[in-house]
């Protein structure tokens, strides 16, 4: 099939950026969305032009590197699917596809479709861990954990840190991402001792990075490739309220 791609091109963080259109023919339905970009880039290089920069690594939906805002949708139209797992079967001959980077003040564009998501690392640095030094641990089975809680903790821990939640949210809020980590650790007994400090510090860092607040529209949950639920946001709110009202 033949497609028209309108892609955001931006030389670097200072550049203003603009859309450019490309016609791509011979698109196979078996291609992944990123392979379409590979093919286009190969052509651009052969034409002596600058290829389109985008982040990607594992190409199997787990590293969280890929990040394209496709026709108004974070990671494109398929449910619970990352950009790298989206396949061209999703499109028809003659379609026009508009591709933009994640847009958020906290995710400045590095080049074209690649953005800087180090704000997420800093949120984790603020408290997304359990303070246990190597070698300190007790026997793994010394801490039995209710399977329901363990499963819920796992479901929250499945977050790949891609930032689609921020990209999809009208407020560029990082609540889903932050709540996923806070929930994982709040649900496990190992995470309880520092849960108040964690909630306060991570929320403070999230605000400091310039993410918006949560209006509970649910767009994050709808676009999250890993199906992280906004029940985690409710849990984050509970954790934060408890901390705010009872911490010293």
């Amino acid at each position: 099939m033949k497609l028209t791609l309108k892609v955001w091109r931006q030389q670097n963080s200072q550049d203003k950026g603009r859309f450019e259109s490309y016609q791509v023919s011979d698109v196979s339905t078996d291609m992944s969305f990123l392979e379409l970009f590979d093919v286009l880039n190969e052509r651009l290089i052969n034409e002596g032009k600058d290829p389109i920069a985008f982040d990607h690594d594992c190409r199997e939906g787990i590293c969280g590197a890929c990040s394209m805002y496709i026709n108004g949708r974070a990671h494109g139209p398929w449910h619970e699917t990352t950009t790298c797992q989206l396949h061209m079967r999703a499109y028809n001959d003659g379609d026009t596809i508009v591709v933009e980077p994640w847009r958020a003040a906290a995710f400045p564009v590095i080049k074209d479709l690649a953005v800087d998501r180090s704000a997420f690392d800093r949120i984790i640095q603020a408290g997304g861990y359990i303070s246990v030094n190597t070698g300190n641990a007790v026997d793994a089975n010394a801490i039995p954990i209710d399977k329901v809680d363990a499963d819920a903790a796992f479901a929250a821990a499945a977050c790949i840190g891609c930032g689609a939640c921020v990209a999809a949210c009208k407020n560029s809020s990082a609540m889903l991402f932050t709540s996923a980590k806070i929930s994982q650790l709040a649900l496990l007994p190992q995470g309880r001792p520092e849960h108040k400090q964690r909630a306060e510090d991570m929320v403070a860092q999230m605000d400091k990075e310039g993410f918006g607040s949560c209006t509970n529209t649910g767009a994050c949950e709808a676009e999250c490739p890993k199906g992280i639920s906004i029940t985690n946001i409710a849990r984050l709110n509970r954790e934060f309220i408890t901390a705010g009202f009872t911490s010293k």
């Binding site: 805002y69 847009r103 407020n171 560029s172 918006g212 607040s213 984050l236 309220i241 901390a243 911490s247």
Partner: protein, 228 residues
């Protein structure tokens, strides 16, 4: 975290919006109950008595002023958040998802809220200002003497079709504001549990989102129809 820090975080602010919002929700219930006496064709006795009681009881006056402050706090913080949220995305997307990922009314809380705000200002200047500072006729009912005839003012106002339309519009805004707002406030307070989510949605949509605004909107419409 000190209180000052706590209420300056995004979640702290949301809690204030949520708490004030829920307080306003409880107020609208009371307000509507009182308003239904407007439809009694008793020459205004029930309504005017009620209005006079509300206007002179010290405690209620205190709450009434508090209410205006609450609306202001709610609106100011909500708008602060909205400004902040806009700033969080300096460059907008060229293509947006429309209603595929969220409902339009959940995204338009500030717009619905602002319509509401304008409505509230007009509403207060029309009736509350008139009642307290304006020059309105007085009536007496048995033991209750010389109370302001707000009933007449209201019936008079709702002769005008555009005022009725304005009130209906205000209530449409309230409806959508609360369809999302009630549930959202629960989520802000951390109330999200599969066993209760159905109930929360039901109350938000049917009670606060439909029944209450409909009740408010019915009053001017009925008064208007009765007078043509």
């Amino acid at each position: 975290m000190k209180w000052s820090q706590f209420f300056n975080t995004s979640i702290g602010k949301k809690l204030l919006v949520g708490a004030t919002g829920l307080f306003l929700c409880s107020f609208v219930i009371v307000h509507l109950a009182g308003n239904f006496s407007l439809l009694k064709e008793d020459g205004g006795e029930a309504f005017n008595t009620y209005a006079a009681f509300m206007g002179h009881n010290g405690l209620i006056q205190f709450i009434a002023w508090g209410l205006k402050i609450v609306i202001l706090i709610h609106a100011v913080i909500a708008i602060q958040l909205t400004i902040r949220n806009r700033a969080a995305r300096p460059v907008k997307y060229a293509v947006r998802p429309g209603n595929k990922t969220s409902s339009w009314y959940s995204r338009q809380m500030a717009v619905m809220g602002s319509v509401l705000f304008i409505f509230i200002v007009i509403h207060l200047s029309q009736f509350w200002w008139a009642m307290h500072y304006g020059d309105i006729g007085k009536v007496s009912y048995g033991a209750v003497t010389e109370v302001g005839n707000l009933y007449e003012v209201v019936w008079f106002a709702f002769k005008e079709s555009w005022i009725v339309a304005l009130y209906v519009l205000g209530m449409v805004a309230l409806s959508f504001h609360l369809i999302h707002g009630f549930k959202s406030a629960c989520q802000t307070f951390g109330l999200n549990h599969p066993k209760y989510n159905g109930l929360i949605s039901f109350i938000g949509v049917w009670f606060f989102g439909i029944l209450i605004p409909l009740g408010f909107a019915v009053i001017p419409v009925v008064i208007y129809i009765k007078q043509i």
